[in-house]
């Protein structure tokens, strides 16, 4: 799976870090910082939960 984030849309809720610490962090400006662009299988469920719970859909998952 390949992840991308939209920092312009991001509102810094911190939900992604709450659900998938290790994949996402927050830049000092409060907005999303993608740590792992292609998370491995062990992080898959947490990453999908984080994407589904982003309040502004700023996380895209390409699951091809």
């Amino acid at each position: 799976m390949r992840i991308s984030v939209d920092r312009e849309a991001c509102v810094g809720s911190g939900n992604c870090v709450f659900f998938a610490q290790g994949v996402f962090d927050q830049h000092p400006d409060g907005r999303v910082l993608l740590l792992v662009g292609e998370p491995d299988e062990g992080l898959r469920a947490a990453t999908l939960t984080a994407a589904a719970n982003c309040p502004v859909q700023a996380i895209s998952v390409n699951d091809a």
Binding site: V11, G12, G14, V17, F19, Q26, G30, P55, Q57
Partner: protein, 411 residues
């Protein structure tokens, strides 16, 4: 507002909102269940303003509305469903918080504060939260039961932490304590509440002036330092931002601490499980947030274009909507047996912190504080119990944010 066939009733017979929790204090308003079944998009009237709006009780609809940028939070929009009496001619002059603005005004203000609530900042604050909680529990144990947990723990912990976070001297804690106690107090008159708000405003105004002149290592100094880079913002905007942070960051957490303690004590087997296995605590807190939904009726919007909801109903441009997050969090289509407090439930997706671009920026701060409070309280005072029956406690039935005026406990 006559899109629904069911809503052909006259204004006089419309349900009056917000509803209260008198019938079952540790539940969202019980009427939601029937509304969701019979009229999930219901025309209702506000008790104080007399204005009509649509009340949404389905999870899917609340999620859709809060996530839709065309659903405005702008409190100056004539269709905005105010929850308090606001004279229309005053609307242009009221300094609304950024929670009641849309982009781009909302975006520039929100971006001033989100650096303060990153995962790293919250991790850095945690040892201090622990020290504050330990000191309060030491004081409770020294005093001996029964004590009022609201006054001894629930109010002091978030107010002291917020006082420190903003960069106020701890000698000024009395402003924060007085503010929290007056706004949560059962016997506080309207005048007393207005007085506490005015006092807090004046205090924040002076504090920001001081932090602009002599910056320190604190939240207000950092946002004051960014002000010159923001041509659209001035000193008064910083005061409004600081006021929103104080309102959103103290009473709310205090109320979840007091109500949450009551809920845990009413579910002793689940509490024992959490005590034996602290890894269950974060999930238990998410369930608590879902179950309590203390700001159920605070998530309101006004449509800036027509939208269609999940059952095919239409909300027209200019109409107000109450996207009831507590009703959504108790929708059995999303959370089976929603009335059951169940720490093993996956409460993911709850909207107790709202959803969309206004989702609470302090959510992870609140989660951390609740984890420290509950993780410490029930371990250090294992015999803690309610000193009054749970259904007879002084709940804040009429308050904007649900909570407890007092929580008598002993051990």
């Amino acid at each position: 507002m006559t899109e629904n066939a069911e809503t052909g009733s006259t204004t006089g017979s419309l349900p009056v909102f917000p509803l209260d929790r008198r019938k079952c204090p540790l539940s969202v308003p019980q009427e939601y269940e029937a509304m969701r079944a019979d009229e999930p998009v219901a025309e209702v009237v506000n008790r104080m303003t007399g204005k009509q709006a649509w009340a949404l009780t389905r999870y899917a609809d609340v999620r859709q509305v809060l996530g839709d940028p065309s659903m405005s939070s702008n409190a100056r929009n004539p269709g905005y469903p105010h929850q308090f009496q606001v004279p229309e001619e005053m609307l242009p002059y009221i300094a609304f918080p950024f929670a009641a603005m849309d982009p781009p005004e909302h975006t520039v203000r929100r971006r001033m504060v989100i650096p303060e609530f990153t995962a790293k900042r919250i991790a850095d604050l945690k040892p201090r939260t622990q020290a504050i909680v330990d000191a309060r529990i030491d004081a409770m144990l020294a005093k001996g039961g029964p004590v009022d947990l609201v006054a001894e723990l629930a109010v002091p912990v978030p107010s002291l932490q917020f006082c420190e976070l903003l960069g106020a001297d701890t000698e000024h804690i009395s402003y924060f304590r007085n503010y929290a106690e007056t706004t949560t107090g059962r016997d506080s008159s309207m005048e007393a509440v207005a007085g506490a708000i005015a006092e807090m405003d004046e205090f924040l105004d002076e504090l920001i002036t001081e932090k602009t002149r002599n910056p320190g290592e604190d939240l207000l100094s950092r946002i004051a330092a960014k002000l010159p880079e923001e041509p659209t913002l001035g000193h008064d905007d910083l005061v409004a931002i600081a006021r929103l942070l104080v309102i959103a960051g103290s009473d709310t957490t205090a109320n979840v601490i007091s109500l949450g303690t009551a809920v845990f004590l009413e579910h002793p087997e689940q509490l024992d499980e959490v005590r034996r296995d602290p890894s269950l605590l974060p999930g238990a807190i998410e369930e608590l947030l879902r179950f309590l939904s203390i700001l159920d009726s605070a998530t309101v919007r006004v449509a800036t274009k027509d939208i269609e909801l999940s059952g095919g109903e239409t909300v027209r441009e200019g109409e107000g909507v109450l996207a009831l997050n507590g009703a959504a969090n108790w929708d059995p289509a999303r959370y089976p047996d929603p009335h059951r407090f169940d720490i093993h439930r996956d409460a993911e997706g709850h909207m107790a912190f709202s959803y969309g671009n206004h989702m609470c920026p302090g959510a992870n701060l609140a989660r951390m504080q609740l984890e420290v409070v509950f993780g410490t309280l029930f371990t250090r005072i294992p015999g803690l119990r309610l000193a009054a029956p749970a259904d007879e406690l002084p709940y804040m039935f009429d308050a904007h944010a649900y909570g407890l005026h007092e929580l008598p406990v002993t051990w």
